[in-house]
Amino acid sequence: MSLRKRFFLLSLVVALALVGFVLFYWAPKAEFQSLKKLEIDISSKLEITSSALVPLILQKNFAAIYEDLDTLLKENSDWVALEFRDAKGRRIFPLNEIQPPKGKTIRIYNHKITFGKNTLGTLWLAVDTRKSLAYLKSQQRELTVVLIIGILAALIIAVYFIERFVSRPAQLLSQAIDRLAEGDYQSPLPETGNDELGRLSASFNKMRKDLLKNAGMIERLGQIMDESVNEIYIFDSETLQFSQVNKGARNNLGYSMEELNRMTPIDIEPEMTEESFRNFVKPLLWEKRPFITFTTVHRRKDDTLYPVEARLQLSKIIEPPVFVTIVQDITERLETERQLLDVNDNLEKQVKERTAQLRMENEARKKAQRVLEHHEERLRTILETAPDGIITIDQTGIIESINPAAEAIFGYEHNEIIGKNVRVLMPEPVSGEHDGYLKNYLKTGKPRIIGQAREEEGKRKNGEVFPISLTVGETNVRGEVLFTASLRDITKYKAVEKSLRRAKIKS
């Protein structure tokens, strides 16, 4: 049953219940209450009338009595008959005798008019409650009619709104979802506003977009699978018939998809019978193992064979479950492995030869090293014990070594002078020009002092300038130019020379 129909019926039942309530419960109750009130009302009116009539009766003012009673009759339309008789029972009002009205709705009231202990007369009143309740009844009818019209109107409006805001959108939505179920992810779902349905629609729309995206992804995944260099086989877990075989496999085997759809793995695996295959896959079906990896051979359509490594698993993602086998043609790999083994053998041989060679070389090197070390030791001893000062500098003038004799001459410790420019050991102006000499020599190859012994001046740590005899040699150690200065403090010699010269002059 449609939502609309269901709602309509439900509302109708409620409406009928409401009308029933009004007609069968509320109305009789109201009527009863009204009658009760009417009774009280009439009694009170008769009482008042009696009181008013007393003086008139005593005065025999019939006109006033008539006027009063006439007025009462006129004012109370439900008072269908009113009679006043005096104490003797003679009819005073009205003039003519009346036929007592009859009917279910007629109620009779008798009211004695007394004055002190005397009864002056009796009022007899017939009331037609139908008339009394006419207003109530008309109100009831009006209420019922209004109720029915109101309910009908409300129903129509509600049905319209349900149609407009629920049924139609729901129908559109349901159609759209059907399309979605059929795989049409392209057509968008209807926009139905901001209510629950609208949100539902929006959710479905989002789902549709996701599905669209996923569908694309699945398609791409399918393509990827199809394009895979691996051979992928999907076959039914019961019939074993191939349902999908990717391009790589088809090309390698030489079968078309139509052909493969009629085949089972046994047709391409000559090493297997159906029985052995079924036994083979049992651990998967019984879920004892998640997958089986094995190597076997496949037979192409042209009956040639090729070795494969296969990984077989049961996929329960779709119903009924299928086997998925990912297979690799290992022909090339086997070949490569074989070649690799060959290369390996070769390499091993070479390594052995080379190792022997290296061992020999090593021993020779060790020997040379020992010789070298010995040599160096000797050299160092020579240097350290040499009476002359020996200083080596590099091509930029930086002191690389200084022997104890030189240390003594200049007053420097070797660790405070090594790494400094040799200039510090010279007085001006040579000190300032030394770098220039070096550069010049390195550029032109024209030496100023190299190779010849000569007298120069040195400068001690304490600033004393003194004469030295200097010889500079050049060596080339592993491509690097080194200068070796050999020097001697000739202060004493000079002093002797001076005194000799002075003596000579004197003489």
Partner: protein, 223 residues
């Protein structure tokens, strides 16, 4: 201008000559004239006052004489037309004694007769005619009294003759215009005509004083 709260009050005031001008019923006019306290100026030019005796249509009392010793309804003791004129004639002319029952209003008189409370009732034609057909048709008139002159506007004799004349003329002038007549109607006075004591003197012989109960009667008796 002033009014009185009740008829006895009014009549007492007339006795004392309290008003310069006064509107009186014929009996009061007669008494005032007798005392020479007031003089008539104008009176209603319309129908004269006449009492009637009614009985039920099926009543055996077809003449006033038959009502001797019977209960007769009247509105009140001093109602001139319905009560005094009728009772005076029954007494003076028919020499019968009746038991008057005063029932406040003319309508009550008629109802009383119909309901059989009284054998007959005293009324006037105009009120009988105003009854509902059911009442009117249930009754028959068995006697009509003499015609009494109508109400009159009286002037205190202390008021100057010239001024009395002015007032009388003013009334007479009013009666000539539509607007004036409309005003006079409210008194009620159908038409205004000059009134004279002579109009009222015949009533002096009707023996009304014996019937009347009130200040005027006492004074009259006192004289």
């Amino acid at each position: 201008m002033t009014g009185s709260l009740s008829i006895p009050n009014f009549e007492a005031s007339i006795n004392l000559g309290k008003f310069d001008f006064a509107y009186m019923n014929p009996y009061q006019v007669l008494q005032a004239i007798k005392k020479q306290e007031y003089v008539p100026l104008v009176r209603n030019g319309g129908r004269k006052l006449q009492g009637i005796i009614v009985v039920r249509k099926d009543s055996p009392f077809t003449t006033p004489e038959l009502l001797d010793g019977k209960k007769i309804a009247f509105p009140s003791a001093n109602a001139l037309g319905a009560s005094i004129l009728v009772r005076a004639e029954l007494r003076e002319k028919f020499k019968i004694k009746i038991l008057p029952v005063y029932v406040q209003t003319h309508s009550s008189v008629y109802l009383s007769v119909i309901l059989g409370e009284t054998a007959a009732g005293g009324g006037v034609l105009s009120t009988l005619d105003k009854q509902k057909p059911a009442v009117r048709n249930a009754l028959k008139i068995i006697y009509k009294t003499r015609l009494a002159p109508p109400h009159a506007v009286m002037a205190n004799s202390m008021v100057l003759r010239r001024q009395r004349g002015k007032v009388r003329r003013a009334f007479l002038e009013m009666a000539k215009t539509k607007e004036g007549r409309r005003l006079l109607e409210k008194i009620p006075m159908r038409d205004a005509v000059t009134a004279s004591a002579a109009d009222y003197w015949p009533m002096a012989a009707w023996g009304l004083e014996k019937i009347y109960a009130g200040p005027l009667m006492k004074k009259a008796d006192g004289k």
